[in-house]
Amino acid sequence: MANRVVAWIDQRFPLTSFIKHELTDYPTPRNLSYWWNFGFLAGIVLVIQMVSGIFLAMHYKPDTTLAFDSVQHIMRDVNYGWLLRYLHSTGASAFFAVIFIHMARTLYYGSYRAPRELMWWTGQVLLLLIMATAFMGYLLPWGQMSYWGAQVITNLFRATPFIGDQIVVWMRGDFSVGDATLTRFFALHFLFPFLIFGMVVIHLVGLHTVKSSNPSGINLADKDNIPFHPYFTIKDFYGLGVFMMVFGGLVFFFPNFFIESANNIPANPLQTPPHIVPEWYFLPFYAILRAIPDLLGGVVAMALSILIFSAMPYLDRSRIPGGARYRPVYRAMFYLFVANVAVLGYVGIQPPTPTLAIVGQVSTFIYFSMFLLLPFVSRKEERWLRARGLPKAVHDLLDSEAAKAKGDRK
């Protein structure tokens, strides 16, 4: 019976061939490490956010006089409302944690290189969409940090030449953050996840064309590819179990860890909190914003600090496979970059002091230097590595790739 139903569908819709092509026959490098689990995890977190978010929207009221109360209504009166809200608020942090690790893996192993540039760029668009969504969602509880965070960030657009003031009013729907802002942020916060979902589909269509990168950095021969299902479905689900335990630990035992205490005070436009801080995932970029004394310069630097990632496929001129694995200089740069981002995060959360301002400026300089030096460093490094003699492992990789290319031509 089941076979007949499938046969009926297959005549009208490519069900079996789709499953075959994308899952049971989909070739995946067998040497993927657990760092390759994070794309799947990001997809799952997106689902958690969308499902919990839709249920929250059934009880939430986007109105400045009701928003804060309606969140408490969800927390206290709605059945398992506290669970929905803590899943959603913790999920936002989990989303960025997973995405940042996913990006770090791409940078470490050089997965952004040809032919995967479009994977990297669609990922970049996804990052920007997720950032916008998180920023707008943070206004909705209408606490002090929600309000003042939105006030500060929308105010940055005042730096736009000529039409700065108009842009800010246009975004807020009012002269300052208010009911109009809250309502439109709610509408857009509801819309954006669907855009993200669409972008994820594009990301995946791209992935299934170029296939997964792998730690060796070359396209593996057919004998080194294994079907996605069952090998990577089970590996992904095992990783998901581990992730869910960490996530569940936070949701059930430390749910207020990621909620700034000032956000449990209702928004008060007449009282600025002593210290306005963005959520942890924006801190490094916020530190870069503050490092530049000029507003326009700071906004441009902050925007560039995110957009400059797109240039990686062109900035990295080395042809040595395996990303940082066989490239000691690039590896050192990678770790320096990660440590430097942590320093920027620290500077971002602290109240500004003269010393920290200098630390922030030096860190910002290092941040951009890493990117701008990369074309020269990667060239020099390649020449040096070739002169020194590539390790045997790299030779074998290059040989096997050459042999494969020959085989393909035949």
């Binding site: 669970l83 090998y231 089970i234 095992y238 770790y335 620290y346 109240p351």
Partner: protein, 216 residues
């Protein structure tokens, strides 16, 4: 492997970073562990003393039943108020503004709305002292508008002070409950969820090994 170590290091670093901007005044260490008795004693203090000025608008009289109050006791407390009406302070906002210059903050979320939570509440309420000029001040919140309602600035007798501190501790435990009344339910459910996930993940692990074991 090296990468893994670095990431673990970073993961440990992040909480330290976000905790770095704690309150400047050192808060007192106090054990604020939940117990049904302490919460009920604290509820007595908060409804009897604090609510002379403060409200707890996200709690309803009905919620007191969850703390072990009998319907009769709740009826005595609510007087004319409906059982589903919020816990509002005895002082109307207008007269509060006349007396203090501002409306005293609502206490429902106070244990979440300050850095340090219950410890902040405990340290602040017990933090009243007489400055050299003989004026009452607060070491956690200088120039606070709230009066030293329990008289900490005047009590020097150690036993009496300890007794008062117990009262404040129970009130802080109650306010922690009031800010997050589902905490107990959440932790209980959390243990089941994590237990389930542990079993599931272990099975996944062995299944993964088994499936991958078939590879040449």
């Amino acid at each position: 492997m090296r990468a893994a170590r670095l990431w673990i290091g970073l993961a440990l670093l992040l909480p330290a970073l976000s905790g770095a901007n704690a309150a400047e005044v050192e808060l007192r260490k106090v054990d604020l562990t939940y117990s049904p008795e302490a919460v009920k004693r604290g509820a007595e203090t908060v409804t009897g003393v604090c609510m002379a000025c403060h409200s707890l608008k996200y709690l309803k009289y009905r919620d007191l039943l969850k703390l072990g109050y009998t319907p009769g006791e709740v009826d005595a407390k609510r007087g004319e108020h409906d059982i589903d009406s919020p816990l509002l302070g005895a002082m109307p906002p207008d007269s509060a503004i006349q007396t203090f210059g501002k409306v005293p903050p609502d206490l429902s979320l106070m244990a979440l709305a300050r850095e340090g939570g219950g410890r902040y509440i405990f340290s602040m309420v017990t933090g009243f002292y007489l400055d050299p000029a003989g004026n009452v001040d607060n070491r956690v919140f200088h120039g606070i508008k709230m009066p030293d309602i329990l008289g900490f600035s005047g009590v020097t007798d150690a036993a009496q002070r300890a007794e008062l501190e117990r009262t404040v501790r129970d009130a802080a435990i109650f306010l922690q409950w009031a800010a997050d009344p589902k905490a107990q339910e959440r932790r209980t459910l959390g243990i089941y969820v994590l237990g389930y996930l542990l079993v599931l993940t272990t099975l996944m692990y062995f299944l993964k090994r088994r499936i991958w074991g078939t590879l040449r």
